[in-house]
């Protein structure tokens, strides 16, 4: 690999890593902080993408679709929490696994009933449709850069929310001892509802933003599910920076794995995870 293509591949890896972080960001909240093992996270991503598709076809404008989609996703998340998850906090964590597995099935089928099983696309919004030429044959889509920028903003925002705000402290406290938080006069239920809704909205937002480049198709949720978990765990559960670093590591491992060791490309991500966790059994950055 010559230096120039190495450089471009690194750029690809960086960008892919950031995209993965975008998908995993909602999971950092819901799984990493609240401790809910949410297998339906991928479905929220899928729902976001389909929302973007449905709303874009309805309104004709991608940005309007996002502006409408976010409150919808928030409301959806809050409703789910109130109806289902709120009843499970005191139960064994594994029962959440069962619940969210059921939800995956429901969401996929409902999607199929409402919107069919076709593959759809959303055009990249006009103003970001350009590409930046890199060499004589290759150019780099501006929209991908926009997504990267959003990722970085999100990472900073999440870090700030979790580590620097009182809300973040309450969430973390609640994941450890709900009764105690309540005894301090804090309505943990409302906080959890908010945070869960936020997590759903983040996943959906990731789906919406990714829709123009990844297209919208059945099963897109399950593709990102496992990798999101991998990222949150490698990074160290509860750590936003950890997740970001992990996403970048996976981005690089995957990108260069595909090019250099195509026969083992599928294995590499998991090899990386195993190695990282054996080296640091609590992830790259521990809690905190």
């Amino acid at each position: 690999m010559d230096f120039y293509s190495f450089l471009i591949q690194s750029l690809n890896a960086l960008q892919y890593g950031l995209l993965l972080f975008l998908v995993a960001s909602g999971l950092t909240l819901v799984f990493g902080i609240m401790g809910i093992i949410n297998l339906a996270h991928g479905s929220f991503y899928m729902i976001g993408a389909y929302l973007a598709f449905a709303l874009t076809s309805l309104t004709g404008n991608f940005f309007v679709a996002i502006l409408l989609g976010i409150p919808l996703a928030l409301a959806f998340g809050a409703a789910l929490e109130a109806l289902l998850f709120a009843h499970l906090y005191k139960r064994d964590h594994l029962e959440q696994v069962l619940l969210t597995y059921g939800l995956i099935l429901i969401f996929e089928e409902v999607r199929s009933l409402l919107l069919g099983d076709d593959v759809h696309g959303i055009p990249v919004p006009e103003i970001f449709a350009a590409s930046i030429p890199l060499n004589d044959t290759l150019s780099y889509p501006v929209y991908r850069l926009v997504i990267s920028a959003v990722c970085i903003v999100l990472a900073v925002g999440l870090y700030w929310l979790i580590q620097r705000t009182r809300l973040g402290m309450m969430i973390r406290a609640g994941s450890h001892d709900r009764d105690m938080v309540q005894s301090l006069g804090i309505d943990i239920n409302r906080i959890y509802r908010t945070v869960f809704a936020l997590g759903v909205a983040l996943a959906a937002l990731a789906g919406m933003l990714a829709a123009p480049i990844s297209s919208v198709f059945p099963g897109m949720g399950s593709q990102v599910l496992i990798i999101s978990f991998v990222i949150v765990v490698i990074g160290g559960i509860g750590s936003v920076w950890g997740a970001l670093i992990a996403a970048l590591i996976i981005g690089f491992a995957d990108t260069f794995g595909k090019v250099l060791l195509p026969d083992f490309a599928g294995l590499i991500v998991y090899l990386v995870m195993a190695v990282v966790l054996l080296w640091r059994p609590e992830g790259i950055l521990k809690k905190g």
Binding site: M170, M180, L184, G185, N189, G238, G288
Partner: protein, 237 residues
């Protein structure tokens, strides 16, 4: 002065099928210091948890400032100016000392902000030295200070201290008693559960003794302190 802050009437509480509280009547007035005593397993903690809404009593009534709040969510009860320092501490190990304190900060019911972060650190200088440590990394006694400090951050009108001096060095324990007394003087009511009867009876106005989920004594602490037979019988010394 004799406005009732927190009141329980004929409380019956069960854990599953075991009947723990058998019709307990209990109240605490504004500004009052009250000792709640009894041997291990007599139901002191259960009474407190029932009043805080952490367990649902099967019969009976809980009133806060005269309003019925039986079975109300804990945070609503706490928001009426009641701070609870549970036995076994309940610090958040995944939060730093500073975060443990800050997350609880809240003005009191009347909007008073007597207890600030700075004042808590003044009261417990040891905590100031360990601000960035995780709560789980503190020594046992430091954790105890942290929970008390955290409760004070909510600027309560009533502090419930369940075994607050457990694991504290004599000097610090004395310091805690001093603070409790001071808290009392500043108008905050206190319910104190502690095995050190001498200390409890000497700083409280009133004492309540529970035996097997029933109130067997409710009266002046002075009286109790001077009645060694009663202490012997119900608390065993």
């Amino acid at each position: 002065m004799s406005e009732v802050l927190l009141e329980a009437k004929q409380l019956h509480t069960y854990y599953g099928s075991s009947h723990i509280l058998h019709g307990v009547d209990f109240h605490i007035n504004k500004g009052e210091a009250l000792g709640l005593m009894g041997r291990n397993g007599m139901g002191k903690t259960t009474l407190i948890r029932s009043m805080m809404g952490l367990v649902k009593p099967r019969h009976g009534e809980v009133k806060v400032r005269g309003d019925a709040m039986t079975g109300a969510p804990t945070h609503r009860i706490a928001r009426q100016g009641i701070a609870y320092v549970p036995e076994g501490r309940g610090i958040f190990p995944n939060l730093s000392v500073k975060e443990n304190l800050l997350m609880a900060a809240r003005p009191g019911v009347d909007g008073q902000r007597n207890w600030t972060f700075e004042r808590v650190l003044e009261t417990f200088p040891r905590l100031g030295e360990r601000l960035t440590n995780g709560g789980g990394q503190l020594s046992g006694g430091e954790q105890q200070m942290l929970t008390i400090g955290r409760a004070l951050m909510t600027n309560p009108d009533l502090m419930i201290l369940d075994e607050a001096t457990e694991g504290l060095a004599p000097l610090i324990a004395r310091e805690i008693w001093r603070i409790v007394r001071e808290i009392g003087k500043s108008g905050i009511a206190t319910v104190i559960v502690d095995k050190n009867h001498a200390a409890v009876t000497s700083i409280t106005h009133r004492s309540v003794i529970l035996v097997k989920g029933q109130v067997v004594f409710d009266g002046d602490s002075e009286v109790l302190r001077n009645n060694q037979a009663l202490i012997q019988q119900h608390l065993g010394v």
